[in-house]
């Protein structure tokens, strides 16, 4: 397919399909994340990227026969390798023998959170999750370093002018979309908060909530324009928030260190170990949510802002 727009739309549909597949495989938390990330944010970011890189592909290919041969050989070797694997759905598979029974049987006493995925994510493997949050933060900083532009062409007065003209044009284009979005955005934000704080009991948690929260802000930006969104959401503030999320997570770990326990051992946070676990999970999920939401918004703003700047440059030159 030569039209990249169609390619990206298809990959969005693929993301949604794999999310429904994850529901069928009992992985509700994962499905939640995949639906918001694979079908939502990643499609959006790719679309933002092709607005800058052009939407058609040149039909040149590197030796397709050679590539096909490599792929077929690798594929058959991998399929040969699966012959020793345990059968699908078998309860005796090695993966179910090691630590998983401990999580399933003891997590209620040790952590006191019904959603095992949350208790493993935030408590048993809290250190891993910390590393992942730092990776997301670093990726956000990377995008910022690559795409960020110094904005000075118009200043605040120019921005207000632009917003005025946008508001006037609002009566002509996307009227229904804008009004429906205005009604929907509070509910999307509310739903994100629900997902954030209900993650202990049902599917959800900081990662999903952060992405949904960012989606609401991105929806607003797309319909009301970058300059309106820039006035509502301060760029440097959101960058600060991305760092605060990581800091909240890290300082929970440091507090337990200062109390004489291991890093991220939440029983240090309260006299009752289970209450300490609850508090610790709440705090670090909050940190995760803040970082994920701000990094997603930063990434989108930088893609969209770059596009605006390119247009400005072209207008100035012509």
């Amino acid at each position: 397919m030569k039209d990249l727009f169609a390619v990206i739309m298809l990959s969005g549909i693929y993301g949604l399909l794999s999310a429904s597949f994850f529901v069928a495989m009992d992985a509700v938390d994962v499905a939640f994340t995949e639906a918001s990330v694979g079908a939502g944010i990643s499609t959006l970011l790719m679309l933002a990227a092709i607005t800058m890189t052009g939407r058609s592909e040149h039909p040149v290919r590197h030796k397709p026969v050679l590539a096909l041969a490599v792929v077929i050989v690798t594929g058959s070797l991998l399929i040969y390798g699966t012959l020793d694997m345990p059968y699908f759905g078998s309860a005796e598979a090695p993966v179910h023998q090691h630590v998983a029974p401990r999580y399933i049987n003891d997590s209620m006493q040790e952590v006191g959170v019904p959603n095992i995925v949350t208790s493993v994510l935030a408590s048993y493997r809290g250190f891993d999750t910390f590393g992942e949050v730092v990776v997301i933060f670093t990726a956000g900083m990377g995008v910022l370093a690559l795409l960020s532009v110094v904005r000075h062409p118009k200043g605040v007065a120019g921005d207000i002018e632009e917003i005025d003209s946008l508001n006037k044009s609002m009566h002509e284009e996307h009227l229904i979309l804008r009004i429906v979005a205005k009604m929907l955005i509070p509910f999307i934000l509310l739903f994100a908060l629900y997902v954030q704080f209900h993650g202990d009991y049902g599917p959800g948690g900081g990662f999903q909530a952060g992405v949904i929260f960012a989606a609401a802000i991105i929806l607003y930006t797309m319909l009301f324009g970058m300059s309106t969104a820039r006035r509502v959401i301060n760029q440097s503030l959101i960058q600060l928030f991305a760092a605060i999320g990581v800091l909240v997570y890290g300082s929970v770990g440091v507090i337990s260190l200062l109390e004489g326990k291991h890093f991220l051992d939440y029983s240090a946070l309260s006299a009752d170990p289970v209450a300490g676990q609850h508090l610790g999970i709440l705090l670090i999920e909050l940190g995760v949510g803040i970082t994920v939401a701000s990094v997603m918004v930063i990434i989108f703003f930088n893609f969209a802002g770059r596009k605006d700047d390119q247009q400005n440059k072209e207008n100035n030159e012509s």
Binding site: H58, S90, E132
Partner: protein
């Protein structure tokens, strides 16, 4: 029954589709889409390993004996979000390459590089 392994075969097919796109296409955006397909096939690999026959979602409730394995779910949940962050970084690089070279086709970029030396 050897057919009990079909989940791995689906994963291998998806993975090879993604791999083919990455090596056979010169367009950088398509390469990133190919990487995403490759990545999702690994997610499906982990999640299908976690499935236990007759199990339910790993949220503790009264009267349920068999749960699916929560550990792969945790690994993949974080992997998805890290995946989107790195994809965004890749797209950002693509945008900068477009600005620097005026093209996102691998061969044209190569030609321009060769002219420079």
């Amino acid at each position: 029954m050897i057919l009990g392994l079909y989940n791995y075969w689906i994963v291998v097919v998806l993975m090879m589709v993604g791999f083919y796109i990455v090596i056979a296409h010169g367009n950088l955006i398509k390469k990133i889409v190919g990487l995403t397909i490759f990545q999702t096939s690994v997610f499906i690999f982990y999640i299908s390993m976690a499935k236990v026959d007759g199990g339910t979602a790993p949220i503790l409730a009264e009267g349920i004996k068999q749960y699916s394995n929560p550990l792969p779910h945790v690994l993949i949940l974080t992997a998805i979000v890290v995946g989107i962050a790195t994809t965004a970084l890749g797209l950002a690089l693509t945008v900068r390459i477009k600005e620097a070279y005026g093209s996102i086709e691998e061969e044209e970029i190569q030609e321009k590089d060769n002219l420079d030396c």
